[in-house]
């Protein structure tokens, strides 16, 4: 109940509906007599102190009538909703019980009726049932039913695959029994929650029918009928239409807001809100002088999310031109987020801080926005994991490449197109002219990934960040993409930061390997040392877990016991200690990343 009141919408909806219910109960006893009191002395008056909303053609007080009419309005709406909900639920459940052909007929009819506007169905029914409250209630009920039937079908279909329904079916439980015993009880809650919205709809629909003169007839009156009476006098005394109009509007808004919240509550799982307290950035140590040659230079990069979650902590990395650096780690080690941070793409509410973040010898933090966009747009190429997802399905491949040149390099459309075709050919896409005119889905997965790489080559890339670029591809295609990346790096002199969880691929492609664990670099080493010279127990375990030709297939594959701690559960010590065979008491203190031979650094007490 409390979540209803937490949002302004829920609060407003609950309050309005509660007021309506109170009005329906208390209205007639309090104001009933006044609403019916005929006073020939004051007929057809406008607003006055005695009659705030004026009087009708018999001198009855309109405010009192509005307050009294709430009961009939709500009652009729409730009736129509019940008719619609019961009829609709039965109609929606029938196909599950009937033989095949009649079931299809029912489904088809429901589908056809859902498409018909409710008012049309209501008018159709009202013609048959005749003018008056009965016809209008039936009509609105009929208008509501198809929606409920559809909802029942959808919900029933979602439950039909559940294990307990399958089990009942296997046991030979009759279909009608499955429907009544297993399906309906499980979809009752969302159906009931939708009643609120249906009730709001019915109330408005009935008001509309009465307003048109097709609903409640005198001497009965609901809000729609009062509006009908008042509308004729709107030019002379607008107040008389105002009361019923406001009443209908408030009721409609109340039920709709409440219904919205209830419907959402039915589908929502509780998500605890994180405490928004960004942690202080890690303390930067003494900064060395920037390396003018480096393509990428990162010092103490930290990514923080609200609640003190820090998936990347104090990461430092230098990449030289032409170098292919592998960034390895399990999922959740922060490697992809590191890539996003370098590209300035960390999603809100993440916060990035770094003691230094230089691309192509320029400090990104000091660059004006315009120039930074251009630098990142042309010098940094990104390749993501799923090539289908990273190309826009609605746009032609050529156009997506060309826009880099038109936006950042001021190329004309024709120039940009030519260059796009050229680049597509460069990554060995056959018939680049034709492919450029196609949409992404017409290309194979490997070709799409080539196209994404070609997109990166549209500018003058100095750094290519490839985030698991081969994970979503076939093994044979993976090879081709890896070869392409290596060629592109060799030709353009650009560097590549290759992010992967696959240490075998990294060993094959990269010059240098950076191993991440729980948001930190634990080891950095030349690729030649990977196989036998790794110093960190985690790196060694990763390498050991790789099967090779000599692996004894009769033994289970080596794996690392335990799991990587999530960023929220990190303690002050070495994050790997809990899974480490060599761990000692000293590991309660975090080991710094220290040099360990040539071009080799490691963060482990046991390594030194």
């Amino acid at each position: 109940m409390r979540h209803l009141l937490r949002t302004p919408a829920g609060l407003a909806g609950t309050t309005l509906v509660a007021l309506m219910v109170i009005l329906a109960i208390a209205g007639p006893p309090i104001w009933g007599a006044e609403a019916e009191r005929i006073d020939p002395a004051v007929i057809l008056q406008g607003a006055s102190a005695a009659h705030p909303l004026g009087t009708d053609n018999l001198g009855r007080d309109i405010l009192a009538r509005v307050l009294v009419a709430g009961r009939l309005s709500l009652f009729l709406a409730l009736l129509a909703t019940l008719i619609g909900a019961i009829g609709g639920t039965v109609l929606g459940a029938l196909p599950a019980v009937l033989p095949r052909r009649p079931a299809r007929l029912v489904t088809g009819t429901v589908n056809a009726l859902v498409a018909f506007p409710g008012l049309l169905l209501a008018m159709f029914t009202a013609v048959i049932a005749g003018l008056g409250a009965r016809g209008a209630v039936l009509g609105i009920g009929v208008a509501i039913a198809p929606g409920f039937a559809r909802l029942t079908q959808t919900l029933a279909a979602s439950v039909a695959g559940a294990d307990y329904v399958s089990a009942a079916r296997m046991l030979g439980v009759p279909r009608r029994r499955i429907m009544t015993r297993h399906v309906l009880p499980n979809i009752a809650e969302p159906l009931i929650l939708n009643l609120t919205q249906a009730l709001g709809g019915a109330l408005l629909g009935l008001a509309g029918m009465s307003f048109l003169g097709l609903g409640v007839q005198p001497p009965s009156f609901d809000w729609g009928r009062l509006l009908f009476d008042g509308f004729g006098r709107i030019y002379s005394t607008p107040a008389v239409a105002l009361g019923p109009a406001v009443a209908v509007a408030l009721a409609g808004i109340g039920f709709n807001l409440l219904g919205d919240v209830l419907a959402r509550a039915a589908s929502r799982t509780a998500v605890p809100a994180g405490k928004a307290a960004p942690q202080a950035a890690s303390m930067p140590g003494e900064l060395d002088a920037p390396d003018p040659e480096a393509v990428l230079e990162v010092r103490d990069l930290t990514v923080t999310f609200p609640g003190g979650v820090t998936p990347v902590r104090g990461l430092s990395l230098t990449v030289a031109p032409g170098e292919i650096v592998g960034l390895v780690g399990e999922s959740g080690s922060g490697k992809s987020l590191t890539a996003s941070a370098i590209g300035g793409l960390v999603p809100y509410p993440g916060e990035v801080s770094a003691a230094r973040l230089r691309l192509c010898g320029t400090d990104l933090g000091e660059l004006p926005e315009q120039e930074r966009r251009k630098l990142l747009g042309t010098s940094l190429a990104m390749v993501f994991q799923d090539p289908m997802a990273s190309l826009n399905p609605a746009l032609r491949v050529g156009g997506q490449l060309a826009e880099v040149a038109t936006v950042h390099q001021g190329a004309s459309r024709a120039e940009a197109r030519t260059r796009a075709v050229d680049r597509l050919g460069h990554v060995r896409i056959p018939e680049p002219e034709r492919r450029a005119r196609q949409h992404p889905h017409e290309l194979s997965g490997g070709m799409r990934q080539r196209a994404v790489i070609a997109m990166g080559l549209m500018g003058t890339p100095r750094l290519i960040i490839a985030d698991e670029p081969t994970t979503a591809l076939d093994v044979t295609v993976q090879r081709q993409i890896l070869r392409l990346l290596r060629e592109v790096t060799g030709e353009s002199g650009a560097a590549t930061l290759f992010i992967s969880h696959d240490i075998a691929v990294v060993g094959e492609l990269c010059h240098r390997v950076v191993v991440m664990y729980a948001g930190r670099v634990v080891e950095e080493l030349p690729v030649e040392k990977l196989a036998s010279g790794a110093a960190h127990p985690y790196t060694r375990a990763l390498v050991a877990s790789l099967p090779d030709m000599d692996t004894d297939r009769s033994l289970p594959l080596a794996s690392i016991p335990g799991h990587q701690p999530s960023p929220a559960e990190l303690g002050p010590g070495c994050a790997f200690a809990a899974r480490c065979e060599l761990a000692t008491g000293r590991c309660a203190e975090r080991p710094p990343l220290i040099p360990y031979g040539k071009a080799h650094q490691v963060a482990c007490w046991e390594a030194s």
């Binding site: 919408a9 048109l212 808004i253 936006v407 949409h439």
Partner: protein, 335 residues
């Protein structure tokens, strides 16, 4: 018709995608067959409408005091003295030939009434749909971008409650409010009737507000979904200008669901316009159908409701076919 009422499932608009010829043919054929079946069902329903009225519709419309000869003559003119099946056959034949009978009240042929009034209704509904789409799609996108990943909670709360409230107010209340403020109060627009362009403003607004709020909500949700995709990440990595990112990359991918709803909306607007026409005394079909129902002028009610039904079926067919062209995956999934 399964496709028409398909909820906006969040398909993508893949402009220019083409189905293989045979699949496309089968898709179109299937929808045409459904259309024809629905049309037949609609004809039977509208025929049955008169017969389902309890008692005698002729006596009901002429009143208890009507002379017996008149009632007999009226019954004969309507063919009510014939066997049911032959009545149905001649009804269908007449309707297909554009013969909808004559009004009990005015004696006009119902076909002429419809021909004279239908355009006024269609213009109103079409313009309202266009206005709603033009306002709501950018508004929803803007809200989506502003509230991405839960930022600007204030904007989100305001947007959700405002659109939620706007959806909940029925068009006849908007009509009354607009008339009271802008026609009677300020005198900027005529309060009723169809005249120059200024007479269109209030009816169109009254019809468009609630649908616009609804479309804006859908557009926002679609935008939020697309913002999370890799292609948007890549487009952001390319550092495209905001306008290009949102209009060229995002918009086309949010349109499928929006247009599906837009199509359904057009059909419901044609029906909802009944109330707006009533308030603005707009000379469309709606005003006439209300008169005919209250005065038991059954031939007119029957004819107009049939026409409404045919419009609904036609618009739904067109939306389905259009979506089949724009988003072939949904068309293929259906089969």
């Amino acid at each position: 018709m399964a496709g028409t009422s398909r909820l906006p499932a969040g398909g993508r608009l893949l402009a220019g995608r083409v189905l293989p010829g045979r699949a496309r043919g089968a898709f179109v054929l299937r929808h045409l067959v459904r259309f024809v079946i629905s049309l037949a069902a609609l004809l039977v329903a509208s025929f049955a409408m008169i017969h389902l009225i309890p008692g005698d519709p002729v006596r009901a419309s002429l009143g208890p005091a009507a002379p017996v000869e008149l009632i007999a003559a009226r019954r004969a003119a309507l063919g009510l003295d014939q066997p049911l099946l032959s009545q149905l056959v001649s009804y269908v034949r007449n309707v297909l030939g554009g013969e909808f009978g004559t009004s009990f009240l005015s004696g006009e042929p119902v076909g002429e009434v419809i021909a004279a009034r239908l355009p006024n209704t269609l213009v109103l509904a079409l313009l309202a749909t266009v206005v709603a789409l033009l306002v709501a799609v950018p508004l929803g996108m803007w809200a989506g971008v502003r509230t991405e990943n839960g930022r600007n909670r204030g904007t989100e709360a305001t947007f959700t409650s405002a659109t939620g409230a706007a959806v909940a107010v029925p068009e006849f209340l908007y009509s009354i409010a607009l008339v009271t403020v802008f026609a009677i109060g300020l005198g900027w627009f005529p309060p009723a009737g169809r005249g120059g362009p200024e007479s269109y403003v209030l009816p169109i607004l009254a019809l468009a507000i609630a649908p616009a709020a609804m479309i804006a909500r859908i557009s926002r949700v679609e935008t939020l979904r697309e913002l999370g995709t890799d292609y948007v990440r890549l487009a952001r990595a390319k550092r495209l200008p905001a306008a290009r990112l949102y209009v060229r990359h995002l918009l086309p991918n949010t349109l499928t669901a929006t247009l599906t709803v837009g199509g359904l909306l057009l059909t419901s607007l044609i029906a909802e316009s009944v109330l707006v026409e009533y308030v603005f005394a707009w000379p469309g079909l709606g005003l006439r159908v209300v008169e005919s129902i209250t005065q038991k002028d059954y031939p007119v009610a029957q004819g107009v409701i049939l026409v409404y039904g045919v419009i609904v079926l036609t618009v739904n067919l067109l939306v389905d076919l259009l979506l089949g062209v724009l988003d072939p995956t949904s068309a293929l999934k259906e089969s």
